[in-house]
């Protein structure tokens, strides 16, 4: 292969690598143990496992209801209840003298 062809192969491989998203594979797999898929919802997904047993980090998909403002979305009803319940949760924390910082 001449240099030109080698360059083309390199470009081709770079293109394939760039289009491969590990996150997509993890987020779509049912029953993942909660370690490290992010990119959905509020994007707070962490990674790695903490010690023995089930992972201690949030799975990225757990915040999916947060971005479900669409009235036809599958988590829209959960989202609506969550918005109402957040008022109660804040009240309960305040009653126990927990002052919350402003939402970031």
């Amino acid at each position: 292969m001449n240099i030109k062809n080698r360059f083309m192969v390199a470009v081709l491989l770079a293109g394939l690598v760039a289009t491969f998203h590990v996150d997509d594979c993890l987020a779509q797999s049912s029953g993942s143990s909660g370690d490290g898929s992010s990119g959905h919802g509020d994007g707070t997904g962490g990674g790695g496992s903490g010690g023995d047993g089930a992972s201690s980090a949030s799975d990225g998909s757990v915040g999916a209801a947060e971005g479900s403002g669409d009235s036809r979305g599958p988590l829209e009803r959960v989202n609506r209840h969550a918005i109402k319940s957040m008022v109660l949760v804040r009240q309960l924390l305040a009653q126990s003298n927990v002052s919350l910082p402003a939402a970031k």
Partner: protein
């Protein structure tokens, strides 16, 4: 002959490279734009099983200690191996030394890490408030519960949670209805969202005193440093 073959190979490679670049430039931005509002397929399938029944449930926080304690701390409780470790090794001495002695008030706060947890914690909220801490402790007593539950699909979660809830005298059909109820799951989601938006946490256990957040504390010593400084300040 050799030259023709080389020319053909070169042409095909150029064509492939061009096609790849074109695919990349079109596909990558489209994927990025779609991500924020996308609900993963397995979560959407789970959500399709949710019900709107009006079910009474425990919507309170677990608050331990005396109301006049000078400091209130929050323990974010997740169905994780580290929370199990914390509850077994750190919680008993923390409770004895700081909570039972009246020095601090401690809130045990459900913090779901996955959609398995979301269902499990929703199911636990169908028990009376005085059983809430007991069921949470039972759920992290053995690593096998959370590990087994999280290895299975979201749709299979009730089979695992039932292993815990059956010891609390709740019928299986009611337990499953609670785990898949929009209002109860919404309440658990509200707890998660309030914690992530207020303290920027994604980890359980986390221990919060005032504006100090300890991620995954694994010894009483780590907590004591923060607690004692808060007690001095009287927060």
């Amino acid at each position: 002959m050799m030259e023709t073959r080389n020319r053909l190979a070169s042409k095909s490679l150029r064509w492939l490279a061009g096609a790849t670049l074109a695919w990349w430039s079109l596909a990558a931005p489209a994927q990025q734009a779609a991500a924020p509002s996308q609900v993963p397929t397995d979560v959407a399938e789970l959500a399709a099983t949710f019900n709107d029944e009006v079910i009474p449930f425990n919507d309170q926080l677990i608050v331990l200690g005396k109301p006049d304690a000078k400091v209130t701390a929050v323990l974010l409780f997740g169905l994780s191996g580290d929370t199990g470790y914390f509850m077994e090794r750190v919680f008993p001495s923390l409770k004895e030394k700081y909570v039972d002695s009246g020095r601090i008030r401690l809130i045990i706060y459900d913090f779901p890490l996955t959609w398995h947890d979301m269902q499990a914690l929703a199911g636990f909220r169908c028990l009376p408030a005085d059983k809430h801490l007991e069921v949470l402790q039972a759920a992290v007593r053995h690593n096998t519960f959370a590990q087994g539950m999280k290895r299975a699909s979201y749709l299979n979660t009730p089979d695992h949670v039932w292993g815990i809830l059956k010891n609390f005298g709740i019928p299986r059909d009611k337990a499953e209805q609670c785990m898949r109820n929009n209002a109860i799951v919404g309440h658990v989601e509200a707890l998660r969202r309030t914690a992530t938006q207020s303290w920027w946490v994604t980890w359980a256990p986390s221990f919060i005193v005032g504006n100090r957040v300890l991620h995954n504390p694994s010894s009483l010593g780590q907590i004591e440093a923060v607690l004692n400084s808060a007690l001095k300040e009287g927060k």
